[in-house]
């Protein structure tokens, strides 16, 4: 009859990682450790041109001189960077012309996740560039996209086939020296996605990449570069799931977006890396650098649903360089058990009449810590810049924490900055009301959380929003009232 906080907490603990399995695919994995030879070996294995090898090596030199940052509101044992293998690729044929050629084990993996490629193709019209342990094993819809002049391929392929574009833009938004993890990524990135939308082209479908960490002890260093040329539009989806692991796995991705004049990029992420078990053992370290640059009248929207990882360190940001450019950040971050998230955004207003919107929804349960950290910076030149920020936190139980660290630097007195913040708790009275209508406690919590997250969920493409809602439910199953 009814429920107590204690009972709810117990129920919460019954949630196990749904996608916790390991796909047995033969891999070609480097020995652990990092030095110049390893970097040269990665570059060689990927058949890269000399300029790329040099670029990696210079990034490595920068990284060696840097210290791992510790300003974030997270606590973890720093990884031993010499105990990680920096390259792992599935053995066998590196490319497939059709799905029939793909390893059946991989197909099984996707079936388990409910995102079989066939289903994706038929139902959603999403072109999928699958990155599994660092090497692209399947790319679909290439022809349709090619007809419009859209390039959507792995970054390794882009380095070989479109060196001019890569050379021109790689590292321009996030230079290797930007931060510790960006430098590491620049040195050792294994693969990732590259996307170029030509002038005036509206990409006819959502471009999607599913990332997975698979090989035990292999760090994943994805590199994504999206370039939207003048007056073009693209919506890009990134979804992540990872198999269960005992040791911590390091994930340090870099995503760079370039929106040229009048272009628009929507970048949506659903992140479900293994969060560790209910005692806080294991789980992925997710140290990601994501940033976009907006030229005149262009727009970049980041939407993220973060439910996974043991430790998250992530601030998808916008540099609003061009006049009248727009930056948006919509985020839902869920932490449960012993998860820690320090996430938010940076909106750097450089151009005149630039606008930014930040909507952040943090949901904390168990003994987790959930921090929003955001910077709104208005430069002296950014006349009439506008920002609106809203940070809402929802707490479940009394052992978790929600923190908000908003930073504002305004150097132009014509700018207007608004910040709103709320903190609320799921009430027992809300749950009882739902129960009285026949809705069980688990479903009631899902309902309340979905309502709380609605403004952000609405920003996701339809099929992604459904997946995100499911993830929220899974992440908070039986959560505290």
């Amino acid at each position: 009859m009814g429920y107590t906080e204690e009972e709810l907490k117990k129920e919460l603990e019954t949630k196990e990682y749904e996608y916790g399995f390991y796909t047995d695919i033969e891999s070609d994995t480097f020995e652990i450790g990092l030095n110049e030879d390893v970097i040269k070996k990665i570059s060689k294995r990927k058949d890269e041109p000399k300029w790329m090898t040099e670029w990696r090596l210079s990034a490595y030199k920068v990284w060696k001189e840097m210290d791992e940052p510790n300003w974030a509101n997270v606590k973890y044992n720093k990884p031993d960077y010499q105990a990680i293998s920096y390259y792992s690729a599935p053995k066998g044929k590196p490319k497939y012309d059709s799905l029939d050629e793909v390893d059946p084990e991989l197909i099984k993996t996707f079936n388990k996740l409910g995102i079989s490629i066939d289903e994706q193709k038929k139902l959603t019209g999403v072109a999928v560039d699958i990155v599994m342990d660092s090497v692209s094993v399947a790319t679909t819809f290439r022809d349709t996209l090619a007809k419009k002049g859209i390039i959507f391929c792995s970054i390794s392929e882009a380095i070989k086939s479109y060196p001019e574009l890569v050379k021109r833009y790689l590292g321009t938004v996030i230079p290797p020296k930007d931060n510790y993890f960006a430098a590491l990524n620049s040195a050792v990135f294994s693969d990732g996605s590259f996307c170029y939308i030509p002038k005036g082209v509206r990409c006819p479908m959502e471009l999607s990449t599913y990332f997975r960490i698979n090989q035990a002890g292999t760090g994943q260093f994805e590199r994504t570069l999206v370039i939207a040329d003048e007056s073009s539009y693209v919506s890009y989806l990134e979804g992540c799931t990872a198999p269960s692991r005992d040791e911590n796995q390091l994930h340090a991705a870099v995503v760079e977006l370039i929106a040229l004049d009048d272009a628009e990029i929507k970048y949506s992420t659903v992140q479900n890396w293994y969060p560790g078990d209910k005692k806080g053992k294991g789980g992925v370290f997710n140290f990601v650098t994501k940033r976009g640059i907006c030229h005149n009248r262009s727009k970049i929207s980041w939407t993220q649903v973060e439910t996974g990882s043991a430790v998250t360190w992530k601030y998808p940001s916008c540099i609003l360089k061009g006049d009248k450019s727009i930056g948006e950040f919509y985020s839902i971050a869920v932490t449960n058990n012993f998860q820690q998230a320090d996430t938010g955004t940076k909106m750097i207003h450089l151009g005149k009449n630039t606008k930014s919107t930040i909507i952040s929804k943090g949901i904390s349960a168990g003994q987790s810590q959930n921090s929003y950290r955001g910077l709104v910076k208005i430069s002296p030149r950014a006349k009439n810049a506008r920002n609106f920020s809203q940070c809402d936190s929802l707490l479940m139980g009394n052992k978790c924490g929600a923190h908000t660290f908003p930073y504002i630097e305004a150097k132009n007195n014509t700018s207007q900055i608004e910040h709103e913040a709320t903190t609320s708790k799921i009430g027992e009275d809300q749950i009882f009301y739902c129960n009285q209508r026949g809705i069980d406690t688990e479903k009631a919590i899902a309902l309340i959380v979905n309502g709380f997250s609605k403004e952000v969920l609405n920003k996701l493409p339809m099929e992604f929003a459904i997946e995100a809602q499911k993830l929220l439910e899974i992440s908070l199953e039986g959560s505290v009232g």
């Binding site: 009859m1 009814g2 009882f432 129960n435 209508r437 026949g438 809705i439 479903k443 309902l447 309502g451």
Partner: protein, 249 residues
């Protein structure tokens, strides 16, 4: 249908219900009246299964099943509905979505699949017409920013949609102006069948002009001290609760 025997309940060690006896049969309308603090709302919460209260003695049977063994959602599944005195807000969830979730949860408990969306739509149209509710209302967040009257109308709308066998209306008339009261009462009357029963909890006799009870019970200090037909309500209205107090002494 509902049999309450010698029900005692307490909250934080304080005894609120001190031996309630009540029998409700299908097709009947019961009114429970009483002064503030007499235990009326506690009684409805205890039947619905709120864990703010502990049942310390006595028995509640619904269709011969002991309610004490059932969690609040199972009670709802078996057909008990409580129209809350203070309905709760759930931001971001529309009235429609909430009602749909409730209906499908009850169906699931009965081993049925989700209600077909066209059937659901038809039902929503029919019931919202009955209660004079416009579709804008249905797309608003549940009870968020609702006026007192809108909240109560929403409760009765949910009742209409869920078609419970036993409805308990806890102070449904409070916060309603006379026009809204008529609409709500009219809705309740039209939903009445020979199979379902209603318990109306109210402080004032006014509501009983529109929802005519078969039985009236007066609650005082955690007990039903007097029962009668609708004339008892009239008497109370004229003589006030002091009359009961005097009679008891």
């Amino acid at each position: 249908m509902l049999k309450i025997n010698n029900l005692h309940a307490s909250a934080d060690g304080r005894i609120i219900l001190k031996g309630i006896n009540l029998n409700v049969n299908p097709g009947e309308v019961h009114a429970i009246m009483g002064p503030n603090g007499s235990g009326k709302s506690t009684f409805s919460s205890v039947i619905a299964g709120s864990d703010d209260f502990d049942v310390t003695k006595g028995q509640m049977l619904f269709d011969d099943n002991d309610l004490s063994d059932m969690d609040p959602e199972s009670r709802a599944h078996s057909g008990i509905f409580l129209s809350f005195q203070y309905p709760i807000e759930i931001p971001g969830i529309t009235v429609t979505n909430f009602v749909k979730t409730a209906i499908n949860s009850i169906r699931k408990a009965k081993g049925l699949g989700d209600m077909d969306s066209s059937d659901l739509l038809k039902k929503i149209r029919e019931k919202s017409k009955l209660l004079d509710i416009d579709s804008r209302f249905l797309s608003r967040s549940l009870n968020e920013g609702f006026s007192g009257g809108e909240k109560k109308r929403n409760e009765i709308f949910q009742m209409a949609m869920l078609e419970p066998r036993l409805s308990i209306l806890d102070e449904t008339d409070s916060g309603l102006d006379i026009d809204a009261l008529k609409v709500v009462a009219n809705g309740v009357n039209r939903l009445k069948t020979r199979e379902n029963a209603t318990i109306v909890i109210t402080h004032y006799q006014r509501l009983l002009d529109y929802i005519v009870p078969d039985f009236v019970h007066v609650m005082f200090d955690g007990q039903i001290v007097k029962s009668g037909d609708k004339s008892l309500a009239k008497n109370l209205e004229e003589k006030g609760y002091d009359w009961i107090k005097k009679e008891l002494n």
